[in-house]
């Protein structure tokens, strides 16, 4: 088919590496062109420029990790005006949006579930800390709220004693997380991290301290975090499914290009951001499953693929 879909992350980041593989696989499996294109820096305007230039190059479908959950909408709207369908991938845009759907992780739910796992590991009570990313990222708000909500639901048994944000770069993250451990390491019982870098840095710090008392729930699949889970320094991590997102997303865009319409009455999930959410799968992985964590995700991907077309699209 003549579908040329581009997969555009927010910027260079290890999380999205699986998109490249997914794009290659989708290109082969569905006989389309699918390319993974990375903006040179993690900035909304760079991403916008990238997307615009991709359209000028003839790409006719776009899968975008929104550089800003609100700000990306105007670009997607322009794509739509120009006849280029798009969808939000990995993270969602805030409604109203021109994105056909959002296939990704419900960030709030993931943070909420992760915190619940942590609370369970703590035996239902204790003091926890939350390390997360840039405050200006709307997702960060959702995560802070979700963690707080999970804690509140214990009726005071669990208390979030500190939130540290804006630590998406490794050096400041190291500085602040260790300062936290210095000040309140004895007091805190659990740590939940909801961004990639803080998870990695916190895992390393706990390992350096040799601390297995503090329970930590991380996010994503960085080797450092996985290894720390295997070695007992980290309790578990909230996985996302980047490969599945890229693969299913490309498949869906091809179908839409070929005339399928997105159904209004599909089994959409509703999140804080959008009413057209498809969960690409979130899974909690602890020491027991860490060895073959990918199996869990492959299963989810296959499950979504099996019914995707019938569930979400109306093709003629």
């Amino acid at each position: 088919s003549d579908t040329r879909v581009a997969l555009v992350p927010g910027g260079p980041h290890p999380y999205f590496a699986a998109w490249a593989d997914a794009a290659a696989a989708a290109a082969a499996d569905f006989d389309i062109e699918a390319e993974y294109r990375v903006p040179s820096a993690w900035e909304l305007s760079r991403q916008n420029e990238m997307i615009e230039s991709l359209v000028a190059q003839g790409f006719n479908a776009m899968l975008v990790f929104p550089g800003d959950a609100v700000g990306t909408n105007s670009t997607l709207q322009e794509l739509a005006d120009f006849g280029v369908p798009s969808a939000a991938l990995a993270g969602c845009t805030v409604d109203p949006s021109a994105a056909s759907f959002c296939l990704g992780t419900d960030v709030a739910r993931s943070a909420y579930l992760g915190t619940q796992e942590l609370i369970e590991a703590l035996g239902g009570s204790g003091k926890i800390a939350h390390f997360t990313g840039f405050l200006v990222d709307p997702n960060t708000q959702l995560r802070i709220e979700a963690v707080q909500r999970a804690a509140d639901e214990t009726g005071g048994a669990v208390e979030v004693i500190q939130v540290i944000a804006d630590i998406d770069a490794p050096e400041p993250a190291d500085e602040k997380i260790n300062a936290f451990l210095a000040a309140r390491g004895a007091e805190v019982d659990g740590i939940v991290t909801t961004a990639w870098v803080p998870a990695v840095v916190a895992a390393t710090s706990l390992r350096n301290l040799g601390d297995q008392r503090i329970k930590m729930v991380g996010i994503d699949h960085d080797e450092v975090v996985l290894q720390a889970i295997a070695d007992g320094f980290v309790h578990g991590t909230m996985l996302q499914n980047p490969y599945g997102q890229g693969y299913i997303g490309s498949y869906a865009m091809d179908l839409i290009r070929q005339g399928c319409a997105v159904k209004d009455d599909a089994p959409w999930l509703e999140t804080a951001q959008t009413a057209r959410f498809i969960d690409s799968g979130t899974a909690f992985v602890d020491a027991a499953q860490v060895a073959d964590y990918q199996a869990a995700m492959v299963a989810v991907t296959e499950e979504i693929m099996a019914t995707f077309k019938d569930d979400y699209l109306a093709c003629n």
Partner: protein, 319 residues
């Protein structure tokens, strides 16, 4: 003895020292954990890294230029250091050497292009920032190198009470740079070039050579910081260095360096780093709501600068 004290009180970094002491005392009072061995260790760790970054910039400020590529060089060397050990299995000393050589080449490039073209280093290093960072991203595809040898990791985590082993490196650098600017001909020439390039030229100073050497030195210091960051983070992160720029200027300028060149203070720069580190530490230690962190950070920097300035004025009035 009183003479010594007087001289100390007249030193241009004395105000900063007062700021540091006051801030330290206040913090210790507000949060006893501030003086815990582990927190001291954490502070010294941050100091170790940031002071190298700041010195790397300070050397270039001294010649009246700016080096926007300190972070990019640090990052590139960091991933080279980690990558050559992981991919080629290079022994640690060789990898360190390779990193330093690479940095020297980057600095050489900055210096030579700046000097030969006569274009301001600001533009050249802005372009090379993009080049070095681009090579970094191109090689790593934004993926970290994980296989860091245990010896490096151990070095990054080892400590003697509150003192990290890592501190040795910046300590040597501080002494070296201090000697350079206060006791060595090359350092004095760097300052002369920074203060008045034309006059320096007329005094027979080889301006080109001095500029190039300063850039090489800056790059090597940045590289050292990059490799320490690898040891510290136990991971060859491609994003190492992304956040250095602002601090690299802030610390020397807080420390009394003149951006136009010709005057820098090594001790002042160190104190500048300490002040910023203390503020960051305080914001975590006192459990500040993340929404207020940025606001307070700025306000505290401003307060520190004003306090220092106020003391300077008093001194000027007295002198």
């Amino acid at each position: 003895m009183t003479d010594r004290l007087r001289a100390l009180a007249l030193a241009d970094w004395f105000g900063l020292l007062v700021v540091v002491l006051v801030a330290g005392a206040l913090l210790a009072f507000l949060q006893p954990a501030f003086l815990s061995t582990y927190n001291i260790y954490v502070l010294l760790l941050s100091f170790s890294l940031w002071v190298l970054v700041a010195l790397a910039q300070m050397v270039i400020i001294a010649i009246g230029q700016m080096n926007l590529s300190v972070g990019a060089i640090g990052g590139l060397v960091a991933i080279t250091f980690a990558g050559t050990m992981e991919v080629w299995g290079l022994p640690i000393p060789l990898a360190v050497l390779l990193g330093l050589v690479l940095a020297a080449l980057c600095g050489l490039f900055n210096g030579v292009v700046t000097h030969v073209s006569g274009i301001s280093a600001f533009i050249i290093t802005l372009a090379t920032l993009s080049i070095f960072k681009g090579i970094n991203i191109g090689i790593t595809e934004a993926q970290p190198f994980y296989a860091i040898p245990d010896a490096v990791k151990a070095f990054g985590a080892a400590r003697l009470g509150g003192v990290p082993y890592m501190l040795v490196v910046p300590a040597l650098a501080i002494v070296g740079v201090w000697l350079l600017f206060n006791r060595m001909v090359l350092g004095r020439q760097i300052l002369a070039v920074g203060a008045n390039r034309h006059a320096a030229e007329l005094s027979g100073i080889r301006v080109g050579r001095v500029v190039v050497i300063a850039h090489v030195l800056s790059a090597v210091l940045a590289a050292t910081a990059g490799m320490l960051a690898v040891a510290r983070l136990q991971l060859g992160q491609p994003t190492i260095g992304d956040d250095w720029l602002i601090l690299s200027f802030a610390a020397p300028v807080i420390g009394g360096a003149i951006l136009a060149g010709g005057h820098v203070s090594v001790i002042g720069t160190c104190l500048g780093v300490v002040i910023v580190t203390l503020i960051n530490n305080a914001l975590v230690l006192l459990g500040i709501d993340p929404f207020f962190v940025q606001l307070l950070l700025g306000a505290l920097i401003l307060a520190a600068v004003m306090l220092n300035r106020w003391r300077e004025r008093r001194r000027e009035a007295l002198a």
